[in-house]
């Protein structure tokens, strides 16, 4: 059976009928969006990985309990679970603050970079690191919308439902996020000519 051509909904049905490979396809299809959305909120790759796993364990349990709402889309639903687990984590952190290590912004694996001088490479890496830093400086509600819109590829209606605000508010937060990022980049003379 070719799982790659199946819709998310069809894969969910197949999984509930015992086809484990359907779950594997769902994870493969959405793992980067879900993981990145979690990672950019918690800023720690090990913690993000734990929450990513917990998210799918909850997905599996909910599916098997027959509690998945067929009317909703699979990805927004999973992102909502991940988002709630991130909030749970921060609530626990607030109650029991601990000192944690950052993962050190090691994302710009230089693997894909060819024929560049060391200086160009370093500027590019630094700029990406700065961009991630600037995203983290955004107010949490603006950061959430930016992450859900860009990495989760959710519509503004889906974001509005997920964050319990109106569509206009979700849209406005995206605008504020972009506006603020631009202001910070302008003030720091960060260039976007880096891709």
């Amino acid at each position: 059976m070719d799982f790659q051509i199946k819709t998310d909904q069809e894969l969910v049905h197949l999984y509930l009928k015992g086809k484990e490979a359907a779950l594997s396809e769902l994870i493969t299809r959405h793992k980067n969006r879900i993981y990145t959305s979690i990672y950019l909120l918690v800023k720690d790759e090990y913690l993000a990985e734990d929450i990513f796993q917990d998210t799918f364990i909850k997905v599996i349990k909910t599916l098997r309990a027959g509690k998945y709402n067929e009317e909703g889309k699979f990805l927004p639903w999973v992102l909502r679970i991940g988002h709630n687990l991130v909030i749970d984590h921060f609530r626990r952190e607030k109650r029991n603050p601990t000192i944690t290590n950052s993962d050190g912004f090691d994302i710009f694996d230089v693997l894909g970079i060819h024929d560049e001088s060391m200086e160009e490479k370093m500027i590019k890496e630094q700029t990406h690191t700065d961009l991630k830093y600037l995203i983290h400086l955004l107010p949490s509600e603006q950061k959430e919308v930016l992450i859900m819109r860009h990495y989760g590829e959710l519509s503004f209606k889906e974001i509005a439902d997920l964050t319990d605000v109106s569509i206009n508010t979700a849209l406005g937060r995206m605008r504020y996020a972009l506006n603020n990022l631009r202001k910070m980049m302008v003030s720091k003379e960060l260039t976007l000519k880096i891709s």
Binding site: G18, E20, L23, S24, I27, T28, K31, N32, R33, Y35, T36, Y39, L40, E45, A48, E49, F52, Q53, F56, I57, I60, R64, I107, F108, E119, M122, I123, Q126, T127, H128, T129, D130, L131, K132, Y133, I135, L137, L138, P139, Q142, H150, Y151, G172, R175, Y176, L178, N179, N180, L181, R182, K183, M184, S187, K188, E189, L190, T191, L192, I194, S195
Partner: protein, 66 residues
Amino acid sequence: MIETSTTPNLNFNPISNLEEPEMTAFSESDIDKFYDALKPSLNKLIKQPTDKAIKNILNFSSSTSN
């Protein structure tokens, strides 16, 4: 780290008024253009979970299936 003339300076404080509605700073079309220009850079931030994490999930699923 080697500083260059174009190396952005990380030593700055967050802008304090990020929550203020200052949408007049840039026009709508400016923001759209900015987002389009920003997308490739945002995409560079995409990360993926390890194979181990995925294996753990699949193991959990198969071990708890009826």
